[in-house]
């Protein structure tokens, strides 16, 4: 077994949540999102044990307009610089903020897919607590409700984006060639399910139910946009790390999942496919004739068998592509090991991936405990059957929304017995504590101990104000450094942030 060349696939998820202020005639989503997050942060601050911060976000190194392709085609405009009204950096290393008209939470940088699942669950807990905190502030007849989904059913979509650390040296064309077929076909297990369609020109009669929330919204193969003309491959080139060495692949095609197994598969398979791309371990290219159409074809095909046209002629099914990727991944594990995605996590991932592909072939409904689209479909089918409803009945759309309700007492997904990968204790820990094995550890621990001395934070730096000196910026350009192994002892030994800065020599 030789060591893999691929760099560690540090990864994370940023989720925009749907939000409604109930009890008012006109709900202002920006104000509601701000209130939600402020309510949470204020409540934390009143607890001296947990000094989560009012630390501002530092935009100095952010450049969302940079394009991974280098030469940006004429007419491809950079998106507006995002405006963030409320920003909090949490002690678990996450960022919690208002993005446009939604509350959004970015998990801390995680070393593997399992850890991402833990922090994604922690995010749900944080949103749930935020709702409760807001309820204490709002009049009795008003309530803020948050949904973890990706569409309002009226053509408005909001994202659940993934991020993966990649080696800058990998040609971007190779990423596009191999990530595209994965993104199209992983929908088989990443889909959160949706009643009807929002694609122009199609109606619920054409598509009564589909695998994903997002497939309706993709119009381009490659591009920089996230809100208009959404591309399958997003080229935002903003590594939040040493730009000479790294790129951060920003993935916008995914659904927000309620099922932990779906999140695990989504992030885990993608990290592994990207590692194989980095190591040039995918000899077979699946260049689809019409990738944008294929996104929808896969999402609309509940038979999971529809052939997709290849550019070179011939056809292939989504499962064929997934089996090929899986078989290569197994071979990759044998030859290179799985250290870049976590050895143990990688092995678990391969087992689950294989099981899910085999079951999708033989008995898709058998995956109701693991995949959202199956769990939701089964529930809706049972309800339809009992009440003799057609797919066009509004009650099914209501249940579709309510599947994603983050209030425990209202959640439908929470009642379906979805498999848990992460225990409650571990989720609770992830609400407060950063992961041990990325730079998020340094960020989170510094905020736990010295939040009053930290005036700004972002993904790749912390800015300290320790009194008389000028502000001190501590750069964190290496996502794999600042771990417990690197700085755990150092942080323990320092009584004050001034001492830490002195020891760091900054």
């Amino acid at each position: 077994m030789v060591g893999a060349v691929a760099i560690p696939k540090i990864c994370g998820i940023e989720t925009e949540y749907g939000i409604v202020l109930r009890g008012v005639s006109e709900s202002n989503p920006i104000a509601a999102s701000s209130m939600l997050i402020n309510a949470y942060v204020l409540e934390l601050e009143s607890q001296p044990v947990d000094p989560t911060t009012k630390v501002g976000w530092d935009f100095e190194d952010e450049s969302p307009g940079n394009d991974a392709r280098g030469d940006v085609p004429v007419g491809s405009l950079a998106p507006e610089v995002e405006t963030h009204l409320v920003n909090a950096v949490l002690t678990n290393g996450a960022r919690y903020y208002v993005d446009h008209a939604h509350p959004e939470l970015s998990t801390p940088e995680c070393a593997d897919a399992r850890t991402v699942v833990a922090y994604d669950r922690a995010a749900e807990v944080i949103l749930e607590r935020s709702m409760r905190a807001a309820r204490r502030i709002l009049p009795d007849d008003q309530e803020i409700v948050v949904y973890k989904n990706n569409s309002d059913g009226k053509g408005n979509s909001y994202g659940c984006h993934e991020n993966y650390l990649m080696d800058r040296a990998v040609p971007f064309g190779r990423v596009v060639a191999h990530a595209t077929p994965h993104f199209i076909t992983r929908q088989l297990y990443t889909g959160a399910g949706k009643v009807g369609t929002e694609a122009p020109g199609l109606s619920a009669e054409d598509v009564p139910y589909q695998l994903t929330q997002r497939a309706d919204f993709f119009e381009e193969e490659v591009g920089l946009e996230t809100t208009l003309k959404r591309p399958i491959i997003n080229t935002r080139d903003e590594p939040h790390a040493d730009a000479q060495k790294y790129r951060r692949l920003h993935v916008i095609v995914g659904d927000a999942n309620m099922a932990e197994a779906a999140t695990f598969l989504k992030v885990g398979t993608t990290a592994l496919v990207l590692a194989m791309i980095e190591d040039d371990f995918l000899p077979r290219e699946f260049i689809l004739a019409k990738p944008v159409l294929a996104m929808r074809e896969v999402s609309y095909d509940l038979t999971i068998s529809k052939p997709l046209e290849l550019a070179a002629g011939g056809t292939v099914t989504a499962l064929d592509i997934q089996w090929e990727l899986f078989n290569r991944a197994k071979k990759y594990a044998d030859e290179y090991g799985l250290s870049c995605v976590g050895e143990l996590v990688g092995q678990n991932l391969l087992d689950r991936w294989e099981h899910v592909l085999a079951t999708l072939e033989s008995d898709p409904m058998g995956l109701a405990g693991q995949l959202d689209w199956v769990a939701k479909y089964r529930l809706l089918e049972a309800y339809r059957d009992r009440n003799d409803l057609g797919w066009g009945d509004t009650r099914l759309r209501a249940m579709d929304l309510q599947y994603h309700d983050l209030r425990r007492e209202r959640s439908l997904s929470g009642r379906l017995g979805l498999e848990r990968l992460i225990g409650d204790d571990e989720v609770e820990r992830a609400v407060e504590e950063p992961p041990d094995d990325t730079r998020a550890y340094f960020r989170g621990k510094c905020l736990q101990r010295w939040s009053e001395d930290i005036v700004a934070a972002n993904w790749d730096s912390l800015v300290f104000d320790v009194g008389t000196d000028p502000l001190r910026r501590v750069p964190m350009m290496e996502p794999t450094r600042g771990t417990k192994a690197h700085v755990g002892d150092l942080l323990e030994e320092c009584a004050t942030s001034a001492e830490l800065l002195e020891r760091l020599g900054s």
Partner: protein, 66 residues
């Protein structure tokens, strides 16, 4: 490049379905069995479901994002 012919599982193109048809021929469980398994759950969620589905769905509007 290790090309191979892909012939397996080429099912015919699915016709557009009527809105009231169950859309999933791939489903191996019958409606009856699903119903039995989910019966208790359905009893339970009847109390949890939004009371006015029409209003709920209509008023859920999300603009701006990403």
């Amino acid at each position: 490049m290790a090309e191979r012919e892909l012939k397996r599982r080429q099912t015919p193109k699915r016709d557009d379905e009527e809105i009231d048809e169950a859309p999933a021929p791939a489903v191996s469980e019958t409606g009856e069995k699903i119903k039995a398994e989910l019966d208790d759950l359905l009893d339970e969620i009847d109390d949890v479901l939004e009371t006015n589905a029409e209003d709920f769905v209509k008023s859920y509007i999300q603009k701006g994002g990403e």
